[in-house]
């Protein structure tokens, strides 16, 4: 993985020192809250319901064991013994004291981490495929390109004061595990018919109060042109993106108003730009490729007799392998998904002890690599099949072996009104009750892939628009209600969920979800997912299932 050079190190340390001074000036009263707020946000510090919240960047979701241990140490020393993995492959602490934040940032800098550009109207942490470097049929390791974009976009003088926040996701696979089409810019690296590598470029995707699937504004961008093309997009956005209305300021509003015109503007900007000026630095930036060399895999056979035998004698292990383990590009290896969704608990939360367990396992069994996923789980990308049983037992000892990846209880949920200052309703208790309803492993396996996503307000941090079943918390005269959307997807078949009708009370919503699932089970064909059935039948029968005769 990428290691800081002396410039990175110096920059991050100086930034911590600068923030330490700003905190001191705020505490002394020299700075008002109005003056201080943008400064703390630039360093990832929010004020939530109970306390401050610190968001820490995990570039493209990649962590080492050393970094994970440091996150555990911070959770224990400065917080309440846990952290929360987010839908942007970051981690948040929910209880830090402002007076401790400079020390936390120094401790993060010790392991080459920081909170810069995790808030504010700038280019945020670049996200990527958690299976990067491990997935079969990948065109390249997308983290190389994510790191190039990270370096280009960090403290970019021209793009540090955009109309609104800006999120970029990169994949190099046909299977989209990075939700690229619901990002401001989504990039898919692939080879064209001539065997050349380049990017498919999507712009203007996003969730929030006005969700859009990104427009494909370029079918093939030669990889060497990446930065000059990104710069052209950012310039057009910076020039024409609205600044008069926060709710109309994301690039999706600009793109959706006239996608062809946006494409033309970008192409014109690109044509007149000095592409070579950025192609040179790209060559320099691509030296980062050496940090992403594959680990030294052993030459081992694809089949593993000890694994097969362990699966045959242990049903729970067999279920975990079936649901949580994915194919690796190398013979004899596997990708292990670590569920942070134990039944009834907050999605994405992990204790300091569990972080250390993951760190130990990663160091021993996965070439010291851990990934955070945008679905609020973790991933150990390079595990020998022969080690899977030992890894499962170690994970199970820390309650990290729930065999529910992609199933009904693998729910994305934002912190909601239990923590968040913006929320209108709670998300986590609804997620917990739905997970409990579908806790029976056989039943959950029988339902198959089902992506339920819950947001506590219209800002959609829980990605409800992209859920097969999406749930949005709303406030009705001080009471929590939940609106259901159906048919969303954040994958390669991305779509925005459609609102079904009137919202459900907190006591009704879990039953409503169960009715939908029952309808699905009764009407599906062999191999048909919930999403497939919805797309085949359309919304009408699902609305009838939810609302009965009132649907008409």
């Amino acid at each position: 993985m990428y290691r800081y050079d002396e410039f990175d190190e110096t920059f991050v340390r100086e930034r911590v020192a600068e923030f330490r001074g700003q905190v001191a000036r705020r505490l002394s009263g020299e700075l008002s809250e109005e003056q201080f707020k943008p400064l703390r946000l630039m360093n990832g510090v929010y004020l939530q319901l109970h306390a401050y919240m610190l968001r820490v960047a995990i570039p493209y979701g990649t962590l080492s064991a050393r970094q994970m241990r440091q996150l555990a140490m911070i959770a224990r020393k400065y917080d309440k013994g846990y952290g929360h993995f987010t839908t942007r492959q970051n981690i948040q602490y929910n209880w830090p004291a402002l007076i401790d934040v400079p020390d936390i940032l120094d401790d993060l800098a010790d392991v080459e981490m920081h909170s810069i550009q995790t808030s504010g109207n700038c280019i945020r942490n670049v996200t990527s495929d958690p299976y990067a470097g491990a997935a079969a049929n990948e065109t390249d390791d997308p983290r190389i390109w994510a790191e190039v974009i990270r370096q280009w976009s960090s403290q970019h003088p021209e793009f540090s004061f955009l109309p609104r926040k800006f999120k970029i996701a990169v994949t190099a696979s046909d299977k989209d595990r990075a939700a690229i089409k619901v990002h401001d810019i989504g990039l898919r690296l692939y080879r064209n018919e001539d065997g050349e590598r380049g990017f498919q470029v999507f712009v203007g995707g996003g969730l929030g109060r006005t969700p859009y699937i990104g427009e494909r504004i370029r079918e093939f961008l030669p990889e060497r042109q990446l930065l000059s093309y990104l710069e052209a997009i950012m310039r057009v956005y910076n020039r024409y993106g609205r600044r008069d209305n926060k709710f109309k300021a994301r690039i999706k509003i600009l793109v959706s108003s006239d996608p062809d015109d946006f494409r033309r503007l970008v192409e014109e900007e690109w044509a007149k730009s000095d592409r070579e000026k950025l192609n040179g630095p790209l060559d320099e930036l691509l030296r980062v490729r050496r940090f992403f060399e594959p680990p030294k895999y052993e030459n081992i056979p694809q089949t593993c007799n000890s694994l097969d035998a362990a699966r045959a004698r242990n049903d729970e292990f067999d279920r975990w392998v079936r649901n949580n383990v994915s194919d690796h590009r190398m013979a004899g290896y596997a990708i292990v998904n670590v569920s942070l969704k134990p039944i009834g608990k907050a999605p994405g939360d992990i204790s300091a002890e569990a972080m250390e367990t993951v760190a130990d396992i990663a160091e021993r069994y996965s070439f010291d690599e851990i990934r955070a996923t945008h679905e609020q789980n973790l991933c150990l990308p390079h595990v020998r099949k022969a080690d899977l049983f030992d890894v499962w037992r170690a994970l199970d000892s820390a309650r990290l072996a729930t065999a529910n990846i992609g199933l009904a209880s693998d729910i994305i949920a934002c912190p909601g009104l239990d923590y968040c200052d913006l929320a209108n309703a709670r998300s986590i208790p609804v997620a917990a009750r739905i997970a409990e309803r579908f806790a029976d492993s056989d039943e959950a396996d029988g339902i198959g892939e089902l992506k339920i996503k819950i947001s506590g307000c219209i800002n959609a941090c829980g990605h409800h628009h992209a859920g097969h079943i999406g749930i949005l918390g709303v406030d009705k005269k001080g009471e929590e209600f939940y609106q259901i959307t159906l048919g969303g997807s954040g994958g390669e078949d991305a779509s925005i969920g459609e609102i079904t009708g009137r919202s459900f009370s907190s006591s009704e919503v879990v039953d409503a979800v169960e009715r939908l699932v029952t309808f699905y089970k009764e009407n599906r064909t062999v191999g048909e997912r919930f999403l497939d059935l919805y797309r085949r039948l359309g919304p009408a029968p699902f609305k009838e299932t939810l609302y009965g005769d009132a649907a008409h």
Partner: protein, 97 residues
């Protein structure tokens, strides 16, 4: 009736204003104001910029927050409903907290 709530600057902890104008952590110690008094008291608290990050009025009676924001303010007063071991609810046993 109204109470004044704030987040303490140094650590973000939820606080209330008591009868002496002091910032206190327990809702049970919070002063309840009539609407007119509440606005004046809030102005005085907002002047203490070095002590608080934010402050505002909430509807409340002696039992706790009331009105449309009751759920949000009850969660602030007690802690996350999904983690009874966290927040003020974990630190104090008085149910009125």
């Amino acid at each position: 009736m109204k109470a004044i709530t704030a987040n303490r600057l140094s650590d973000g902890v939820v606080v209330y204003v008591d009868a002496h104008g002091a910032l206190v952590e327990r809702f049970g110690d919070a002063q309840l104001f009539d609407a007119d008094e509440a606005d004046e008291a809030l102005v005085r608290i907002l002047e203490r910029k070095g002590a608080i990050a934010s402050a505002y009025l909430i509807d409340a009676d002696a039992a706790g927050p009331t009105g449309r924001g009751a759920l949000r303010e009850t969660i602030r007063k007690s802690g996350p409903t999904v983690r009874r071991d966290l927040g003020k609810q974990a630190e104090l046993t008085d149910e009125r907290v």
